[in-house]
Symmetry: C2
Subunit: 246 residues, 2 copies
């Protein structure tokens, strides 16, 4: 790839000069290029179900449609940095688990301009930690993954990719730690696996498998609930190493 070489030889294109984006008129000598954005599918557990966070667009051709929070990448900024900035803007969350998933570049995905979107997946331990209002969007809301509304852009596809990535990571990595508070019970952990993988798992086999991975640490107390008290666990500091399951 060579920027300096291509920059001059490329023909100017007019095809993206429709819509609202043309409010900004490039200089005659400027070559028009696709823009870069990031969009993040944020997941959390709530009521033993996997949910994801959506906002309602406020402007543009798709105003009032639901979408994942995101925005344009600025010059000098990393992609991860842009995703974190947008998540903090939209939901007031910092230092969360973030992972790049896929890039969407269909020129017609955004009716306002040609925008290449780098999609991210993010995980937080408590849905309640997300601020629902923001400067940029009217209101955020948590939706059950199985019952998402119609989404703007290609975000329905994005949701599928992000979920697929989450499932894959759950099978081979200790990613579940990012969906849990510091301490939890074996039942809490199994809820994650069951709702993300969308299938029942035998309680006893799950327990045995999870303990043999040696990722968990048994803590002294018990959690008291409606029935027999449950052992409290925490994830060990770090294993960094992938492992296998199921």
């Amino acid at each position: 790839m060579n920027i300096a070489e291509e920059e001059e030889s490329l023909p100017k294109r007019e095809s993206d000069h429709g819509g609202e984006a043309s409010a900004v008129v490039p200089h005659e000598t400027e070559v028009v290029r696709p823009k870069v954005a990031v969009d993040t599918a944020l997941f959390a557990m709530e009521d033993a179900r996997l949910k994801c966070y959506l906002v309602q667009l406020q402007a543009g051709a798709l105003a009032s449609k639901w979408a994942f929070p995101g925005g344009l990448v600025r010059v000098g900024e990393t992609l991860d940095g842009a995703a974190r900035r947008e998540i903090e803007d939209a939901a007031g969350l910092r230092d969360i688990y973030l992972e790049q998933v896929f890039s969407f570049g269909d020129p017609s995905r955004d009716p306002d301009a040609h925008v290449v979107s780098v999609a991210y997946m993010a995980l937080i331990p408590e849905a309640g930690a997300a601020r629902l209002g923001s400067r940029k969007y009217a209101d955020g809301q948590w939706f059950e993954v199985a019952r998402l509304p119609a989404l703007a852009y290609d975000h329905t596809e994005l949701a599928g990719y992000a979920l697929q990535r989450l499932r894959s990571r759950l099978r081979y990595m200790d990613i579940a730690r990012n969906l849990l508070p510091p301490t939890f019970t074996m039942g809490d952990l199994q809820d994650i696996y069951q709702s993300v993988l969308e299938r029942g798992i035998d309680r006893r086999n799950f327990r045995r498998w999870m303990l043999t991975t040696d990722l968990l640490e048994r803590l002294p107390g018990k959690r008291r609930g409606a029935h027999r008290p449950a052992t409290i666990y925490a994830f060990r500091k770090r294993n960094e190493e992938a492992f296998r399951m199921l």
Copy 2:
């Protein structure tokens, strides 16, 4: 993500106006944005070894360095389309297997400008099919994956990601078909698995496993070589379905 809303409110940045890219000066009212490029790691088998195709950069701060072929995405063009165009330009290849791998966006990855690069992996059945000279690059060359030279940009990292993706696909999908001619022997197929996974595989177990997947079709003839003639196989039309291995 909302373009119309952000477009005006974003501050202009000067940080990327060093280097050769500043030959193109944006208009005063134009907002400077990161550019989007695609870069493709092209793989093929040669002498029972996995190789990948590199070109030498001709201009810019990294001229004469080796890199994967790629270039800027044009407005109105899909990412896949841009990758295919660049591969055809660089190596004269069309209708090849192509898969998006990862996007790299570190602002300092290209000393000439802030360029976000969407990385692709491509596979072809014959290394010899690639044209080595091109309009854009001096000469292409096939390198053993285990012995790559120093690469420009973050392309060493790209190579790692692409290889990791290839390994993963080999385990669960019939992606090997894209590295093989229409007909081949069990030995040819095993060469791919061994060189991509970088480990020896028991010949008899490999054969049994591969045949139970039911992806192969036994063809009538035999391939005669230095020793006992080998059965000729072809991949069945399409299974589309993922499967598991090892």
